[in-house]
Symmetry: C2
Subunit: 564 residues, 2 copies
């Protein structure tokens, strides 16, 4: 009789437990062991900001099955037949003898755990700025259950009044919301010129404008120094000299893969600092797999390695490694298109695939378009979405999409993620048959309308100009005739105030004489979302105006200041 297969998993957060569980399901008699540094297992770490923000109060919900059973050592043993060693560090791997050395963090007890197949799910560690004062009390990350407990306690104690969030990425933004909901005055500080760098600049600015309605935001400025008294944080000093008094600072400037164990064991580490794995999630040692935030993955859109520390991918990778560890390499995880989403107050932000910014860096020529329109009819309380679609300039293959706004971003991003993974072209989306009823969608779904605008652009019917380019022309005092095609009442409520002419679309055909005599002069048309802007532009072009552009996304996608 064959001896029982020994599967050892290092790491007990997301990818690790999933790999262990999958191994168990495939081989009921394998010896499956999880080695976990933290005292908890299988934490829903993406849920930390919502626990801190008071969306729920029972800490155990972060650690429980859907029926409320805490996934602790006892649970793993009884329900899954898995030995979970908690508060235990894996200190080294002897790859010749196939033994992993462990030490219990509390008792100091050491143990040699033999393996037939090893799965590393060692996760990532938050980056800390290498600056003065970083060890003061009141400075934390939001990466562990311990961090979540610390920040939740701050919420419950209601003593802290001012906090800074250092880093305007996903976790920074989610933490800003959580602490704002805890009644704390928040300032988000981002070194780069924009928040959420997975978005293109203009899209990120729309989010930033919204976030500013809730918290302070400082971009293009980093923290130079943490200032404290008696070991406690009292302020941060920015690189431009500004001091911001605060009693709490949350650092969220990204994470780096935990690869020491792998590196010491001689496994190949990639250029981005993550463990190298192939499509089977196998490392350079054929007895060792690696999954989750500690590995490098292939981006399937541009076929280069990336770090993609997403909780959903961790689970999917774990499932693949768990199966391959037991059965030999049989299932693949091919890579990621880096789909991400976050909620910030009543605003949703998502992206998938390639951004225009990244395309530029990679030398990929793309066409883009902005669509601003509601997710549902007005009579069903439809909410605005602003989308940016990025397609290959030559083939029109869909390469990326971004969507922000109070509307149903999740569905939009899911649709585009599917389109990218299926290597669909714009043409394939033009007549897509998606679920329509007024409680869910416009008759022509926002995603399809976005594809229509792109199609119109490709057919040279829609000549767009983005907010950034138009703003630059205005700032440079270039000769542009701005034509607002909305109604008088709309103009009174909201307007650019940059010398534009208002001619409601319904009067355009009879008021062409108010337009520039020189029919070659640049005219930029717009309305709230630029649908009337587009129709107006067509009227002008048909009447001989040769240089007419539509402001993409209209006023809804204009992220600069307006007169009102």
């Amino acid at each position: 009789m064959e001896s029982k297969k020994r599967i050892v998993v290092v790491g007990g957060s997301a990818a690790g437990p999933k790999a262990a569980s999958k191994a168990r399901r495939i081989d009921e008699f394998a010896e499956v062991t999880i080695i976990q540094k933290d005292p908890e297992l299988s934490m829903a770490s993406c849920g930390y900001p919502y626990y801190v923000g008071g969306f729920f109060d029972n800490r155990n919900q972060l650690l429980s099955t859907p029926t409320g059973v805490v996934r602790d050592q006892k649970f793993y043993l009884s329900a899954k037949g898995i030995r979970a060693m908690v508060s235990t560090e894996a200190t080294s791997i002897n790859t010749d003898k196939k033994i992993i050395e462990t030490q219990n963090i509390i008792t100091g007890e050491k143990e040699h755990v033999p393996y037939d197949k090893l799965i590393l799910a060692t996760g990532a560690t938050p980056n800390m700025p290498p600056i003065e004062g970083v060890n003061l009390d009141g400075i934390t990350t939001l990466q562990s259950m311990k961090d979540a407990d610390y920040l939740r306690n701050i919420r419950d104690e209601k003593k802290i009044r001012k906090a800074v969030i250092i880093g305007g990425g996903l976790i920074g933004i989610e933490t800003a919301e959580a602490l704002h909901l805890a009644g704390i005055d928040i300032t988000v500080i981002e070194l780069l010129p924009q928040l959420l760098t997975f978005l293109d600049y203009g899209m990120a600015k729309l989010v930033e404008n919204y976030v500013r309605s809730k918290t302070n935001v400082i971009t293009g400025n980093g923290v130079a120094k943490f200032i404290g008294e008696n070991g406690k944080l009292t302020a941060v000093k920015l690189q431009n000299g500004t001091e911001i008094p605060c009693e709490l600072a949350v650092i969220a400037i990204g994470v780096r893969p935990n690869v020491k164990l792998a590196k010491d064991a001689g496994l190949n580490i990639g250029q981005l600092g993550g463990i190298e794995v192939d499509e089977y999630m196998q490392t350079s040692n054929s007895d060792i797999y690696a999954v989750g935030d500690c590995v490098e993955l292939t981006n399937l859109v541009f076929n280069q390695k990336v770090l993609a520390p997403y909780g959903d991918l961790a689970n999917l990778e774990g499932r693949v490694a768990g199966e391959n560890a037991v059965l030999g390499n049989s299932v693949k995880f091919k890579g990621t298109i880096q789909t991400g989403i976050c909620k910030v107050f009543d605003y949703n932000v998502g992206a998938t695939g390639l951004s225009e910014d990244r395309a530029k860096k990679l030398g990929i020529k793309v066409e883009t378009v902005i669509n601003a329109s509601p997710d549902k009819p007005g009579f069903m309380d439809g909410k605005l979405l602003v989308s940016k679609l990025i397609v290959d300039d030559e083939t029109c293959q869909i390469l990326g999409a971004q969507c922000v706004g109070p509307g149903d971003v999740s569905k939009q991003i899911a649709i585009w993620a599917m389109a990218i993974q299926a290597k669909m072209c714009v043409e394939d989306m033009i007549n897509a048959d998606l679920p329509y009823a007024p409680p869910f969608s416009l008759a022509i779904d926002h995603s399809i309308a976005t594809a229509h605008i792109m199609q119109n652009k490709r057919k040279k019917r829609f000549d767009g100009i983005c907010a950034h380019d138009l703003k630059q022309m205005i700032d440079n005092k270039e000769d542009v005739f701005l034509l607002d095609l909305r109604g008088y009442d709309e103009f009174e409520q909201m307007r650019l105030g940059m010398g534009e002419t208002l001619i409601p679309l319904g009067q355009l055909r009879t008021r062409l004489n108010e337009l520039p005599e020189d029919k070659n002069k640049l005219i930029v048309t717009f309305c709230k979302i630029s649908l009337r802007g587009y129709e107006g532009a067509l009227v002008l072009k048909a009447n001989g105006y040769t240089n007419v552009k539509v402001l993409e996304g209209g006023l809804a996608a204009w992220y600069y200041e307006r007169e009102k």
Copy 2:
């Protein structure tokens, strides 16, 4: 100089105005005319139930642009340069002279409207049961603005107490909600054994169980006769003799294409009674296009003609016909996968592609799977979804999906609709990179989990049995060992009560001795959603039990009565 192209559109609801608008956008100088029988134009007819139900009160919202401008004759003329003839019937087409004869319904005035290209968007007419009393006062459909006004008035007057809805399809169900919200006691009557025939029986029964918590539902019984006093409806008599007193009956037993105009003009009519069109939306007469509810479309999954009266498709078809009418045949509408969705109170119902039922009728061999699981984590108020996935039995190509429940059905159906249109296989969904964050999704999205279960089934790891088959075995007193793997507390709250044995999953490995001695006996495992059911089945199989099946979707997909 070429003369202006004359584009005439018959029909002013959805497809017609879209075709006319598209034609205008492509040719600013074409003469574009809409001939519309109703007094209104461009009605959001899918919104009627929500107006009746009081989701909004301003009738004009059904007729307005997003900025609140009513799309009337004046709007079409000024904003789009389109002549809209309302309250005007197109009485005949002279295809030789290319003239359409019209008559104003109010004034009786006749006019000959010449066309270069004609687009028919004549819509569909609600079916009426050919039975006694069908013309009594108090009997209506919900198809026109007039119907919507009539039912909204009933809501506002608050005089009617009891109503029956005849027909349990999409519009029947939406109307049931609307009138229930108006405080009226509702009975839905469906001739067939199930509501919503685009769903498979079991899925429809889940919806029916929910609807029964709000209204009465009678299936498998039709209306034999409407009974009235003084010309007013007082009751309906069913085919089984039951009389249901009511003051209002809404008939929603489907629609049939309006093809008289087309037929009289000699255009080809298809076997299903709709106007025949090709991919260009062109009829058998090359100068005439047809779009919307009056045409037959190709179902792209099984490549046969279908009637698909959906508002979203009408718009997309209109767009295609409008362009082709102006430019000659240049863009295509290839067909539909019959994606549909509806909301009924706090429950959502969607389907796309092929149902199992239809596959059987078409002789297509499919594999199916049921997945019951929440849309989001419990700590973010996740809500249940029950999905059914239908794939080709040989190739595993995704052919259809159905999803019901209080959760985010819209995203699920959009994902599957994309997968079907992209001809993806289950394998392509296993590691899909979809947007994940706790406010939007589980770490492994419900759609991906559904694909995982299908994969497990294909790999013979998951042997499922559906509620229907199990119920039949129980009713036939076949020898089945029912094994509930939940906790004691869960069992107290909800249980099948059909002689099942309860062994919590965590105790299973140590209580195998309580299982049947005959290891070949059929054991059916389950839990609330059958995740533990699946894990338990794997434990049993590994221990030599040869005939173990998992109840698909667990108790969450069990649509028969339970003990509690």
